[in-house]
Point group: C2
Chain length 360, copies 2
């Protein structure tokens, strides 16, 4: 039987060891004779799972004590509203638009005040990160918003904008825990779990506590107030408990792989060999500007749509799944998150070489 490698942009590949442990514990979590899925979220055993996940995440990212860690629902799309509803106190914020998701966040922001687009790379299909040295921040901006890794276009911020003290809010859905980061540079970080961390349905937000307050946009639902979840320590209502348990297993797996330094090393190796191949290929070409390349999502084209289609089809037959680019940009995309083994990338390159020989 052929080996399947799953290059999906999310939901995405998870560590085999984590899935194996989840399978083993499905009917009996540590002798409880219960599945984690069946456990009261108010039980001691589940509280232990939640607190351990939180502590491991805190350790992995070196999250300082003045940041709150929240496990939420609704995906990044819900954060697009929660952020302005809770944090746009002056009804104004700045957005750097580097793709569809940052654009959607800015559009949602317009429902609650002035969401200024202070830079954009839409002119070149979001294939680069705009110049960060000459940004003009708005005087009343409550925050500056970025999407740090752009899944659809394969770009990532290599440095952060200097926001002159304005809180920086970053969507890190597709680069979450892929390398070390300095949390103190942000007012808030958030991301959906379904790319690098766990199953869809869990959203993690990390917020500096001085940004939290009672004042919210009129009509903000109780469930969409950060203070609701802070006060209740992510147990205001029933959390997506099983998903959080899987996230916790992934955190432990990352720790076993050398933490975020270990992840970075592996991710640089994997992306490195794939980008090196793209740069030397006579058929395939990377689409993101070199200095802005993502370690997680590698986008490429042949320059011929028919050939792209043929490649995706033949790759699928060989067990390379989900290589089709996002429907809005076409081409190909290999998402090589933490859990994608190096052998998967090596096998893909081997197949690409063969395809190139056969079709050039």
């Amino acid at each position: 039987m052929k080996t399947v490698y799953n290059f999906s942009a999310g939901p995405a590949v998870l560590p085999k060891e984590v899935l194996q442990e989840a399978a083993n514990e499905m009917l009996d979590y540590k002798g409880s004779q219960m599945s984690v899925m069946e456990m009261s979220h108010r039980s001691k055993v589940y509280e232990g799972i939640l607190n351990e996940a939180k502590a491991d995440l805190k350790e992995l990212l070196s999250i300082p004590d003045n940041y709150k860690i929240l496990f939420l629902q609704g995906g990044a799309s819900t954060q697009f509203a929660m952020i302005p509803m809770n944090l746009m106190k002056n009804h104004e914020a700045d957005y750097i638009v580097t793709g569809q998701w940052a654009k959607k966040a800015a559009q949602e922001g317009q429902l609650y005040g002035k969401a200024n687009v202070i830079a954009s790379s839409e002119d070149k299909t979001f294939s680069y990160i705009p110049d960060l040295d000459n940004l003009a921040f708005s005087k009343n901006a409550d925050y500056v918003y970025i999407c740090e890794n752009n899944t659809i276009y394969g770009t990532k911020y290599s440095t952060l904008p200097d926001t002159k003290g304005i809180p920086l809010i970053s969507d890190i859905s597709s680069c979450f825990l892929s390398e070390p980061m300095d949390v103190t540079k942000y007012g808030m970080l958030f991301g959906g779990a379904q790319k690098n961390i766990g199953p869809a349905g869990v959203t993690i937000a990390i917020i500096r506590e001085d940004l939290l307050g009672d004042e919210v946009f009129e009509g903000t639902p109780t469930m969409l107030r950060y203070d609701t979840h802070v006060k209740a320590d992510s147990l205001y209502n029933t959390p997506p408990a099983y998903g959080i348990y899987i996230c916790g297993l992934v955190f432990k797996w990352i720790k076993s792989q050398g933490g975020l330094e270990g992840m970075k090393k592996m991710n640089e190796e994997k992306a490195g060999i794939l980008y090196d191949f793209l740069d030397s290929s006579h058929m395939f070409k990377g689409t993101a500007r070199k200095q802005d390349r993502s370690l997680m999502n590698v986008c490429f084209i042949t320059g011929d749509e028919k050939l792209d289609k043929k490649f995706v089809e033949e790759a699928k037959e060989e067990g390379f799944e989900n290589l089709k680019g996002h429907r809005s940009v076409g081409g190909m995309r290999a998402s090589i998150y933490n859990a994608m083994p190096k052998e998967g990338v090596e096998a893909l390159i081997k197949f690409m070489k063969k395809f190139e020989e056969e079709n050039l």
Copy 2:
């Protein structure tokens, strides 16, 4: 080793067969070499899982074509806001308050208009369903809201209020799929999955399509608009895909048990023997008014708090988990959802008899 029976009010016991299948398929869903957790929500195989779950639910509840089925996130607590934000067109609605959850729904409704409490059973700790024959509905009420099964107090509506054409909205979280129901009597039904259907993190809403429209409360987040999810067929953003897969397995299990008629028969048997025992006991006493008793949540006390505590502790030692009543009411509660086998209830009764003999 003792057998554990889990009487948790939610997240709650799931069918062993479902958990076994989930465990078997965890690393390889039907030969895909992928876990359902790892699958793109835009892939054919996942679309199949979602559509099959929807079709099975439609069949089980005989949902007419003019009702939309949505798989959402955020729990019933998020519905408390979504309902008025989307459906309170005249900024007024009527609420019947039969417990903490209906009360919270009414309080949340106040954020968006006049949420009139037209009946309440709070005077007697929500131990009964108010008289439904003499309700005075408000002239401009956009809907009448009820919580059909009250998990904390063990009560359930045995009949529905005649709302004279005003759409009836019902929270059925804790009686979802426990017996047949006539969907056409409702404008909208909704519930969290984590009691009778699947893991926490999935919320199912069934809405009559004529109630849907473009007009929503100002500042309603895109993710909290029903029309967003209707237009995208529950795929506007990444859904809680693994949870929906488990729900689908539970729907198939219910079908294999004779559908909702089969469930009703089993649930009446289980609740019947437990209530019969309570009615004949010299120590234990049911707390809900007899004609309003729930088939799902059986609440009882000894009349002596110390004895209650002793009972819960000794029961736990014997493998009867989560029998403690909700922290707001005390006493005991046995939640006996669809997946609780009759043997579990029989074993509990046997233990209660023994405890009664030893402690009376």
